[in-house]
Symmetry: C2
Subunit: 204 residues, 2 copies
Amino acid sequence: MPRVSDVKRRLTDAALDLMWENSYGTTSVDAICERAGAKKGSFYYFFKSKSELTVAALEAEWNKNKASMDALFSPTVPPLERLDRYFDHVHDRLAQLQQRCGSILGCPLLSIGSEVSTQDPGVRAVVDRIWDRKIKYFESAIRDADAQGLIDAPDPEAKARALFACYHGTLAQARIQNDVGLLRDFSRVAMDVLGVKHVTAPAS
Amino acid sequence: MPRVSDVKRRLTDAALDLMWENSYGTTSVDAICERAGAKKGSFYYFFKSKSELTVAALEAEWNKNKASMDALFSPTVPPLERLDRYFDHVHDRLAQLQQRCGSILGCPLLSIGSEVSTQDPGVRAVVDRIWDRKIKYFESAIRDADAQGLIDAPDPEAKARALFACYHGTLAQARIQNDVGLLRDFSRVAMDVLGVKHVTAPAS
DNA sequence: AAATTACTTGACTGATCAGTCTAGATAGAT
DNA sequence: ATCTATCTAGACTGATCAGTCAAGTAATTT
């Protein structure tokens, strides 16, 4: 085996950055190559199409995040605190990205997924797949919280999906309005959605 | 004043249809003209750019929907029922659109807004504006529900924004997964978010 | 009937798009 | 040393893009 290059990784990184900040449609293959410091020939050596690159980029992003997800959702952490910490973590990351690029970017899975899902089955499928994996973290936290009597969740999977949807709506709104505000308070909304029994803020 | 034409309306209709079903980026001016049965010259007679057309299309869509929003959120309807009926109404409309085009399309404000908000201040602004108007319906329903003691909502505007975000996340997920499921049950999630005091599901 | 206003027509431009192709360069295996 | 698999270079193609423009048509006013 001759030399190995890191161009593939640079391409997926560049693609995700550009598509996250702008959109799938306005991110051209040329622009991806330029940011990655690669040439077109290399791009099409590694990927059959822009669509396939996108699938790879989303998978790569998932792999980059998995370790910190595992840590945040460690069973050693009290279940509701896992969710709290996760929301904080995402908030901090988006706030930090805003420093660099001027915008609250929301969730790339949602932005890209919403943009291409009716037209690109491959990308839609990978978004679905990663989405499901992420929901599993919510689901087990919810199941543990239920087991500890902190909430009443007879169907943890459904609860997780509902909470996940709510969270992504909040991320999308933060992107559209370029405002972290709602994100900062999402934890309270989450506790409402979960029906947390005794907690600081809400009366019920 | 010489003859009047309905081309302007046909163009905004066509644009919204195409952008909703596909995306802003993949909807070309040529395609809009073709569906509207208009020529390029007419397009640029009425609109300065694709961006301006989009702003007009979103405003036109709002105007088309306003009457039914007013009816659904009529003060003659019990407040929580207003929300229920609204969710049902949207569900039915999306299910009906799915028959025609094969996909659950979600909310065009969110899809288009999320796609262009970092790049097109004009479109972002109109999405924001319409978004705010829609939230007002939620807000007054929530305020009325609070006044009737059905819920405890010291800050109706914040509650409305949170519920709106949750709802749009659910719409987005329905689009990405092409599944009405979550939408059908959203009313229950909404009641959780609102902290409805006595109802079928939650304990608290 | 002539002038004016409101719209229509479609060919055109130059830029940019995703994707192709051929000719190399580089490094490890033999 | 040379062979071969892996990767790079970058010019090229044809389609499509948003937007322009000059000439034309039709209803209404005067």
